[in-house]
C-alpha cells in the first residue's frame, strides 16, 4: 500500500466513527493529531477528499488551533503555562530551567529522540496551583525543579515501554 492509500484507509476508519460531514472535521483532525502528534500533509489531503472540504480549508483549520501542528512533534507535547498567575510563582523559572536542562532544547523544539516537544501555552486554568504544565492530556501542577525531573523520567519510561516489542 502506498503512503497516500494508508492515509485514505486511516481517514475512512475515522469517518466511520465521526461521520462524513463538515462537523466531523475537528474530531477527525483531533484524532489524527493525537495518534501522530501532528497532522501530516497526506492526512490533510485524505481528509479533504473524504469530507469534500477544500484542502485549503482543512489546512486553514489545522493551522489555526494551537493544539494542532502541521509539522512533526514529539510523542509528548509539553505545554508550560506562561500566564501571569503561573509565571509569577517563585518556582516558575527554576522549573523551566530544569526543562531546558533535562531536554536540551528550548521552546518550540523537539528532542532528537523524538520523545518530547516543548511549548508554551496560555492560561491552562490551574492558576491556583501554579506553576503548571499540560503534557498531552495530563496536567501537572505545583511544578518545581525536582518535580519536573521526575515527571520527565516517568514519560521517558513510558516511551521506552511503548517501544519495546510486546
Amino acid at each position: 500500500m502506498d503512503a497516500q492509500q494508508q492515509w485514505r484507509t486511516e481517514v475512512e476508519q475515522l469517518v466511520r466513527t465521526h461521520g462524513r460531514s463538515r462537523t466531523a472535521l475537528m474530531p477527525i483532525l483531533q484524532d489524527i493529531n493525537r495518534a501522530h502528534s501532528y497532522i501530516p500533509e497526506g492526512a490533510m489531503l485524505a481528509v479533504s477528499a473524504a469530507l469534500t472540504v477544500p484542502r485549503t480549508e482543512v489546512y486553514g483549520v489545522a493551522s489555526f488551533y494551537s493544539y494542532f501542528s502541521v509539522k512533526p512533534r514529539g510523542t509528548y507535547v509539553i505545554r508550560v503555562c506562561r500566564t501571569i498567575s503561573c509565571a509569577k510563582q517563585p518556582e516558575y523559572h527554576p522549573a523551566i530551567a530544569a526543562l531546558f536542562n533535562e531536554l536540551g532544547i528550548g521552546f518550540g523544539e523537539t528532542t532528537a529522540d523524538g520523545i518530547f516537544t516543548l511549548e508554551q501555552t496560555n492560561c491552562a486554568g490551574m492558576c491556583d496551583q501554579g506553576p503548571s504544565m499540560v503534557v498531552n492530556e495530563d496536567v501537572h501542577v505545583g511544578l518545581t525543579e525536582a518535580s519536573v525531573r521526575s515527571i520527565l523520567n516517568n514519560y521517558r519510561r513510558a516511551a521506552e515501554a511503548a517501544k519495546r516489542p510486546q
Binding site: 460531514s21 463538515r22 462537523t23 466531523a24 472535521l25 475537528m26 474530531p27 483532525l29 483531533q30 493529531n33 469530507l51 472540504v53 480549508e57 486553514g60 483549520v61 489555526f64 488551533y65 494551537s66 493544539y67 494542532f68 505545554r79 506562561r82 500566564t83 501571569i84 498567575s85 509565571a87 509569577k88 501555552t121 496560555n122 492560561c123 491552562a124 486554568g125 490551574m126 492558576c127 491556583d128 496551583q129 501554579g130 499540560v134 492530556e137 495530563d138 496536567v139 501542577v141
Partner: protein, 397 residues
C-alpha cells in the same frame, strides 16, 4: 488521571453542594416550558461567561424560534487568564451542569446538547463521560427523562483544540462546524441561527449549574443572595499573591476588601478583576463591590503583592491577546501586536506625552472597531495599569 488530585482549594461552602441534579430535572419535566423560563427570568440569573446576558431572556428568544432541531451548548471553553471556576464545577458538580442543559432543553424545546470542552481540560473528559453515563442510568438524560413522557435530551462532548477565541459563542459555533474560530457577525444571534443555522442556546458552565439550584430552591432564594440590582451569587477564582488561592462563592455586592481579607492577601499592591480582559484595581478601589456596573467580573481575581512589576503584568496580558487574536479583523490583529511592542518600548525607555497619546488612540480604536469582545476588551488591562501605575515606568518621578 485522578481529577480530584488537582481539584484545588475551596474556601467556603458552595450552594452547588446543597442541590441534587435529579430534583431539578424532575421539576422541569413536570412543568410547562414557559414556566421554566419564567422561573429563570424571575431569579435574575445572568450569563457567567463574562458578558452577563440575562439567561431567561436568552431562553425566551430561543423558545419563540420556529427552526428545528434546536441545540443547547454548554460552553466549557474557560480560557480567561486567572479563571478556573468552571474547572472546579466540572470536577465536583458535572451532573448539575448536565441537568442545567437538560432543563434548558425542556424550556426551549431542544433535544440535543453539546458540551464544548477546552483542549487544556482534556484530562477532565473521561470524568465527564462517566458523569454523562451516570446521568443516563439515573434517567436524567436520554428518553422520557425526569418522568416526563415527551422530554428527551442527550449530551455529547466535543473538544476544543486550544483557541481562547472559541469561548466567544459564535467562534465556538464555527469551531463545532469544522471551521477556524472566527467570530461571526450578529445579527443573526445564535438563538435565531446558531449551530448549523438552527436556534441555539450557548450558556456558560456556571450559568447551567445554577439552573437546577434555582428550580429546586426557588428564584427568590437566588435573588435574595445578591443586591436588588444584581441578584445572585458568583464563584470567584482567586490566584496570585495570597495565602489561600482557590474557589470562593460570594453574593453580588461583596466588596473586594472583604474577599482580599478572606483569601489572606497581605498588603496587595493591585488586583486584576475579570482576567486579562478585566480591570486592574489599585488599593484606592478596594472598597468597590463585585457588582455589574461597579466591578464587572468574569469571576476572576488575581492578587499582586507589593513587589510586583505592574508593566510586566501588562506585557504578559498583552502577549496573551496578540497570541490569541483570531486575525480576521485588523484593529485586533494588528492593534494587539502594536500595543505589545509599545509596552515593551515603554518598559525600556519610559513614555513621553506624544507616544502616550498615540497609544491611547490605538487602544480606543481597538475597543471601538474590533469585531468581537476579544479586541474590544484587550486594551482594558493595559489602560488601567497605565492610569494607576505610570509612575513605575522609567523616567517618571
Amino acid at each position: 488521571m485522578d481529577v480530584k488530585s488537582v481539584r484545588g482549594f475551596v474556601g467556603n461552602k458552595l450552594s452547588f453542594s446543597e442541590v441534587s441534579a435529579s430534583d431539578g430535572v424532575k421539576m422541569a419535566a413536570e412543568m410547562a416550558p414557559e414556566d421554566v423560563v419564567s422561573i429563570i427570568t424571575a431569579s435574575g440569573l445572568k450569563g457567567r461567561g463574562g458578558a452577563g446576558f440575562p439567561t431567561g431572556k436568552k431562553w425566551e428568544y430561543a423558545f419563540g424560534q420556529e427552526g428545528h432541531p434546536k441545540y443547547i451548548i454548554g460552553n466549557a471553553d474557560e480560557g480567561e487568564p486567572g479563571t478556573f471556576k468552571d474547572r472546579l464545577i466540572l470536577t465536583d458538580f458535572p451532573e448539575l451542569v448536565f441537568a442545567g442543559m437538560a432543563i434548558a432543553g425542556c424550556a426551549v424545546g431542544a433535544e440535543f446538547g453539546i458540551l464544548y470542552l477546552r483542549a487544556e481540560y482534556g484530562w477532565l473528559r473521561e470524568h465527564l463521560e462517566a458523569a454523562i453515563a451516570h446521568c443516563r442510568e439515573k434517567g436524567l438524560l436520554g428518553k422520557a427523562i425526569g418522568g416526563g413522557k415527551d422530554f428527551s435530551f442527550d449530551i455529547s462532548i466535543r473538544m476544543g483544540s486550544g483557541a481562547y477565541i472559541c469561548g466567544e459563542e459564535t467562534a465556538l459555533l464555527e469551531s463545532l462546524e469544522g471551521r477556524r474560530g472566527d467570530a461571526r457577525n450578529r445579527i443573526p444571534f445564535p438563538v435565531q441561527a446558531g449551530y448549523l443555522g438552527k436556534p441555539t442556546v450557548v450558556n456558560n458552565v456556571e450559568t447551567l449549574a445554577w439552573v437546577p439550584c434555582i428550580l429546586v430552591k426557588g428564584p427568590s432564594w437566588f435573588a435574595g443572595m445578591g443586591t436588588r440590582k444584581a441578584p445572585g451569587a458568583w464563584l470567584f477564582s482567586v490566584s496570585g499573591d495570597c495565602k489561600r488561592p482557590g474557589i470562593y462563592e460570594y453574593p453580588f455586592g461583596t466588596s473586594l476588601r472583604q474577599i482580599l481579607a478572606d483569601v489572606g492577601a497581605d498588603n496587595p499592591k493591585a488586583v486584576q478583576v475579570g482576567g486579562a480582559s478585566g480591570n486592574c484595581v489599585p488599593p484606592s478601589g478596594f472598597d468597590r463591590t463585585m457588582t455589574p456596573g461597579d466591578l464587572a467580573t468574569g469571576g476572576s481575581i488575581i492578587v499582586f503583592g507589593p513587589g510586583q512589576d505592574m508593566f510586566a503584568v501588562a506585557e504578559n496580558f498583552q502577549h496573551f491577546f496578540a497570541d490569541e487574536s483570531c486575525g480576521q479583523c485588523i484593529p485586533c490583529r494588528v492593534g494587539n501586536q502594536r500595543l505589545l511592542e509599545a509596552i515593551a518600548r515603554m518598559r525600556a525607555n519610559g513614555l513621553d506625552k506624544d507616544s502616550e497619546r498615540t497609544v491611547r488612540q490605538l487602544a480606543q480604536t481597538m475597543s471601538v472597531a474590533s469585531k468581537c469582545g476579544l479586541g474590544q476588551m484587550s486594551p482594558r488591562a493595559f489602560l488601567s495599569i497605565l492610569n494607576n501605575f505610570a509612575g513605575e515606568l522609567p523616567g517618571h518621578a
